[in-house]
């Protein structure tokens, strides 16, 4: 769900302007804008959270992150998230990092359900053979407890 910002109408009619946030029901919720946090879904930086700091043209954005060199990326390589931060166009790295701290991007991401899912996926992929064995034992134990409770409830229901 992504779309480019609708260009705003000429300055003379500012009072009557309808900003993109006031338009009647739009099918898009996440917009490409300066400050939009996106997840890289293809390429060398796969899985990283980056911030859109400028738009190059219809297909590409200038993208920056605290641990990477600022560079261009095709929109097709990005998946927009719900998080935005307040930055001027193409900020210095220091400003970018400060703005990310202020908006608390890391915690917002890791507490979002999308972010949590990714963390779980990473954890599962990094499991040891021994860890997988312990996981199997834990699953069996848990389902045993659940089945016991279920049996109890069934018995109560039957009687």
């Amino acid at each position: 769900n992504s779309s480019i910002l609708i260009p705003s109408p000429p300055l003379s009619s500012i009072s009557n302007t309808i900003t993109h946030k006031q338009t009647p029901k739009m099918p898009f919720k996440r917009y490409v804008e300066i400050g939009r946090v996106a997840l890289v879904n293809y390429g060398k930086d796969y899985g990283k959270l980056v911030v859109i700091v400028d738009v190059v043209d219809q297909n590409r954005a200038l993208v920056d992150a605290p641990d990477m060199v600022r560079g261009q990326m095709n929109f097709k390589r990005l998946t927009l998230t719900d998080i935005t931060i307040d930055i001027p166009r193409v900020p210095k790295k220091k400003t970018l990092i400060e703005a990310m701290e202020k908006a608390d991007v890391k915690n917002k991401w890791e507490s979002s359900s999308w972010g949590r899912k990714l963390i779980v996926q990473k954890r599962r992929a990094s499991l040891n053979d021994f860890d997988r064995f312990k996981l199997m034992l834990a699953k069996i134990k848990r389902s045993g407890v659940i089945k016991q409770e279920l049996a109890k409830l069934k018995k109560e229901n039957a009687s």
Binding site: A125, S126, L127, N128, D129, F130, F133, K134, L137
Partner: protein, 233 residues
């Protein structure tokens, strides 16, 4: 030849560039002290006459000349290098056996033998794998390590595992038609004792880690959805 020096001399003539020394012939003559050797020997360079050689035994002509010249096979002075042990395999690593009777069993690595094979043990009481040799290529090394400090493995080498050579008895006519008597080969008691000794301290350290004993007792198998190239062992 004159007596050799214990350490070879570093050249006294450093290279300015490759092929051009710093000092000329005459300078080098002086640096090497050849004038001193000459002076010590009364003006001439010392000569050592070759020692008189013992008379060589008379060579007999060979008894047999092959009809065509036989080619001698080329000399092979190759010394095979010891098998390189994978960096992930250290003493105490849990290995997964991939082939043979104990396929899928998780086993503890003890040491690499001189033949290159790996010495492993179940431990026997846990999963039935005795002290055994296993090839590195048929093994997956997991990242799980067991504390192996209490185990003494010095007495085990390739000779320990060599097959017993049986002496074949000559059969008389009558016995020839009897079915060959096969007594079941019993494991000698000392091998059993060795197994127990190695496993004793191993089992103690294994029981110290929760679930490790059950882990070693279970076999590994690929289940639905497991992608071996994506699994972390």
């Amino acid at each position: 030849m004159a007596a050799k020096r214990k350490t070879p001399v570093k050249t006294r003539n450093p290279d300015l560039i490759r092929g051009v020394g710093k000092y000329s012939r005459s300078k080098m003559y002086h640096k090497r002290g050849l004038w001193a050797i000459k002076a010590k020997n009364g003006g001439a360079f010392p000569r050592h006459d070759p020692k008189p050689k013992a008379p060589a035994a008379a060579e007999k002509p060979p008894k047999f000349y092959p009809a065509e010249d036989v080619k001698k096979p080329l000399l092979n002075k190759r010394k095979p290098k010891p098998t390189k042990l994978r960096a992930s395999i250290t003493p105490g690593t849990v290995l997964i056996l991939l082939a043979g009777r104990f396929m899928g069993k998780r086993v503890v690595f003890l040491k690499q033998l001189t033949s290159g094979l790996l010495l492993v043990t179940g431990p026997f009481k846990i999963n039935g794998v005795p002290l055994r040799r296993v090839n590195q290529s048929y093994v997956i090394a997991t990242s799980t390590k067991v504390d192996i400090s209490g185990v003494i493995v010095d007495k085990f080498d390739d000779k320990y595992f060599a097959k017993e050579v049986e002496k074949r008895k000559k059969k008389t006519e009558g016995e020839f038609f009897e079915a060959e008597k096969e007594d079941k080969k019993k494991l000698p008691e000392d091998k059993k004792e060795d197994q127990k000794a190695v496993d004793a301290s191993l089992i103690k350290s294994i029981e110290g880690v929760p679930d490790l004993k059950a882990y070693l007792a279970a076999r590994f198998s690929l289940k639905s959805g497991m992608k071996p190239h994506e699994l972390v062992f």
